[in-house]
């Protein structure tokens, strides 16, 4: 009788009666993973592949809060602004240099070129993710200068 009970208990434990908690991916770790799972594909679609509308419709919240001083709040305003921008710069390039993800925030360091032959722009986009969508955006944008005091690119 006892043997059967112990065997049943062991089987039940192995079958997932236990919830195992990984030491380094408790609540903070899983939020970071969830944020990365939104921001990485968003940047691939929007930046690398230049698919503005698809990227925004899929990954941005409708009432997205905008901190870029040249843009209005909201996803639809961002799409309109960026589609116009894309149309004016059909040969633009956008390359993510590094992506830093931490809890519900992410920073993307980007090298963008509007027109071939022009100096590239250095950009950091910061995103806050909430309920599986990008809810807030900040950025800092700087044209890269001709000369540098060090032998490294801005990237």
């Amino acid at each position: 009788m006892k043997k059967a009970l112990i065997a049943a208990a062991a089987a039940s434990a192995l079958a997932g009666g236990c919830v195992s908690v990984e030491m380094n991916s408790g609540p903070a770790g899983s939020t970071t993973q969830a944020t990365r799972a939104v921001v990485a594909p968003f940047m691939e679609m929007f930046c690398t592949r230049g698919q503005v509308r698809a990227a925004f419709m899929r990954y941005m919240a409708e009432d997205y809060i905008q901190h870029n001083p040249n843009a209005l709040d909201g996803r639809d305003a961002a799409i309109a602004h960026l589609e116009a921008f894309a149309a004016a710069n059909p040969e633009r390039t956008c390359e993510v240099q590094r992506l830093i993800v931490d809890g519900n925030l992410a920073a993307a360091h980007v090298r963008a070129m509007l027109k071939p032959g022009e100096r590239p722009l250095a950009i950091v986009d910061i995103f806050r993710v909430e309920n599986g969508r990008i809810a807030e955006h900040w950025d800092v944008v700087q044209p890269t200068p001709e000369a540098s005091a060090n032998p490294h690119p801005m990237f």
Binding site: A9, C18, P69, V124, V140, Q142
Partner: protein, 157 residues
């Protein structure tokens, strides 16, 4: 009888569960790379930016051979200290406020607002730092003047 068995099995399985985890959990988990990086970049940013203590921040947390990607500065910690102390000396009312820090593995992004004087709109800055062997070894940044007008009411921060 079956119900009793099921209930007993469930109780035992929970007990077995707890004891399995207790035996497998390490005594103290080593901090992740992200937490190590956070433990360097947070005090560095507070000293350097919020408190304006350039030399102390750099001497404590930055490696001598610090690789510099900011185009107006040469490589190296001492060059950085000289340049940044120079800015502070030229603008004694300068303020710097860390808005958010984002840390991932050996990289961190620090978003801050720098104002040469209280009346100046200031600059939005993101510093990106790479940490190695307990020190900051590489730095990139992007700097933008805060414009006079904005199409939204949210500030750049």
């Amino acid at each position: 009888m079956k119900k009793l068995l099921a209930a007993a099995a469930a109780a035992l399985s929970l007990a077995a569960c707890v004891s399995i985890e207790a035996n497998e959990a390490p005594a103290a988990a080593a901090p992740s790379q992200t937490e190590v990086t956070r433990g360097i970049v947070t005090p560095f940013s507070d000293l350097f930016c919020n408190q304006g203590k350039v030399r102390e921040a750099f001497m404590t947390h930055v490696a001598p051979g610090y690789i510099q990607h900011n185009p107006v500065a040469a490589d190296g910690r001492d060059t950085a200290i000289a340049a940044l102390e120079g800015f502070r000396a030229a603008s004694p009312q300068m303020t710097c406020e860390v808005k958010r820090i984002i840390v991932d593995g050996n990289l961190a992004a620090v978003h801050s607002h720098v104002k040469p004087t209280p009346e100046h709109r200031g600059f939005a800055v993101v510093d990106i730092l790479r940490v190695e062997n307990g020190m900051i070894v590489e730095h990139w940044d992007v700097i933008q003047p805060v414009p006079e007008t904005s199409r939204n009411n949210n500030t750049m921060f």
